[in-house]
Amino acid sequence: MPGFLRENSWPLAASVVLHGLLAAALLLTAFISSNQHLPTLQPLPIDAVVVDSKVLRAAQRAQAERAEQEVARARAAAEAKAAADVEERAAEEAKVAAAKQSEAQAQAEAQAQAEAQTNAARQAKAANQVKTAETANAIEDARRAAAARKILEAKQAIAEAKQAAEARQAAEARQAADAKQAAEAKQAADAKRAADERAKQEREAELRRQLANEEHVSAVESGPLRDRYITLLRNRIQHAWIKPPSATAGIDCVVEVTQVPGGEVTDARVTQCNGDAAVRQSIENAVYRASPLPDPPDPALFERNLVLRFRPNE
């Protein structure tokens, strides 16, 4: 045994150092990503279910793919383990023996693996691009609320993926003597880290854009433009309201309105009302009669859901 160690001291040392570096890098990545959650982000109301489910489906798909890969790898590892001696020491010996394979062969295989990894990385990147495109659509459709939640979910997915990678790496570390496997794992991790890094950067950029947009929105929402929008809506609806005789002072009714961009009213329902059926009906009719509702002075003010309060003061 000491003779064996002496004979193979160089590859063994290289292998140990490599794995040490790998483990450190993974820990660092996990640490960074766990600190990446922005404490200011809170779940915002979502009104575009379609977009949400798309994002969710993409995340689920990615997760499932990773899980499958993991299962495959675990199986391969188990087989390799079974093929080798059950004893850890024997396994190590087997691994060391494997490391003794000719350098040329190792390099050739490493190159083949590298090509495969490059392809995998390219695919991952393409997948990321698709995801980015979807995200861009999501911004348009659902604005910052949906996007913010999507980012959160994506980050969770990354965290989960990293945990999975860690577990995988731990499993692989146990059969670390296989230099070929180690090189493959390292390259895979490198490619993945690179891809993750790119994705993270893109998402951060996205987030910054969203935050800037939100700042704009909150600036508009508290300003005079918002008052003007409310005045526009009120004038339009007052003009359309034909009051029944029972709509006297003291009537207080709330109607929830759904509009689509362009102002077309798709739904109007009186929720609370101390008036009679005629009053309720006149109010719902007023909203439909006012359709299309006026455009907001700033598109950021558009609200899909409006609450109108009818309180005749005469």
């Binding site: 915002l44 929402e221 609806i237 007052q238 359309a240 309201w241 034909i242 709509a247």
Partner: protein, 432 residues
Amino acid sequence: MNRQLAVVALIGLVMFCPRTWAELVVEVTHGQDDAIPIAIVPFNSPEEAAASFDVAQLVSDDLTRSGRFKTMARNDMIDQPHVGTNIGFDDWRRLNNDYIVVGQVQVQGADRFNIVFELYNVLNRQRLLGYQISANKAGLRLASHQVADMVFQKILGVRGAFATRIAYISVLGHLPDKTYQLIVADADGMNPRVVMDSKEPLMSPAWSPDGQSLAYVSFEERLPTVYVQILKTGERRRVSARAGVNQAPAWSPDGKMLALTLSTRDGNLDIYTLDLATHALTRITDDPGIDTEPQWSNDGQSLYFTSDRAGGPQIYRIGIHPGDKPRRLTFQGAYNARPRLSPDESQLAFVTQEDGAYHIATMDLRGRGDVQVLTHGRFDVSPSYAPNGAVILYASRDRGRGVLALVSADGRVQERLVSSEGEVQEPAWSPF
């Protein structure tokens, strides 16, 4: 009404609610008093019914006359569906209709018809009514008024009064061949029937609360006498024929008593109540001035009346129990008379004089007693509320001739009833 009121602008806040509604809260404080646009599509009628009667036209006329609706002209209709499933809602909405009525008249047998109709909200496509009314040919008119009543009530929340009746006095010819007729007609003035006619004056018809009888004053015995007549049978009885004046009968809400004006021997007019079963007479007012034109409150505990005890005629209210003191209600102007209480007692309608002309006015009984002058003819008198309180019927003059006219209780809508020949006076609207 809303003209002089300022807009109260309360600005709501955007809130993130648990239901994930981003809400923009808008406060609406005003509405229009516009007429509601509605399309009454001609009914699909078999020839024997169509020849005698156009249901949709009558419904349309009723709703238009109420002032609350504007009905679509038939020429403008691009389609004439007869059942709800054939309504192209988008088209009717594009033509600015909020509601649509479709229907048909079906033959059920010899002189038996079914009016089948549906009311839809065009804006949300909801079916609001679906009814059928059975009638013979002669009953199609009344059944059509009932259709209008149902539509009116469903949309406005106020019971329609189209299927009710009015009574009035018609004066035909000239002396010495003058004839007085007591007439009962449909609320739209159509279908008049003579209840009583006389060579001597007839006056002051008053409906019993059950709508079965009329009380009125007749001079057929040269002296004013109060009669009560049952409409269906024509049977009548003399209820007050005292020496001097017997006038202005008014039924108590329970139909058991009449309030009326009688004179003492020296010609002083005061208000009495007469128990129709026992003929017991109770004096309500005792004043040297003229007290007349009584009208009961809904609880039967007090009477509104006209009195000139303060100089000119003004309106007062007095409890019917011994010792109750009258309270003066009108102070604006030198002449306020003929009080009539709205069915919900929120308003008093009366005749007021301005610059020598007589107008119909109302006084708010719930708030500060605001007076609103509703009509501006030269001789608008004898107001009478529709049983739903939405409209006031009154007597007016058109080119020197007595006619009947309508004004909505808020003064917004004025209509003239088709008047038959002769002079028309003293209208009284029936109960439901």
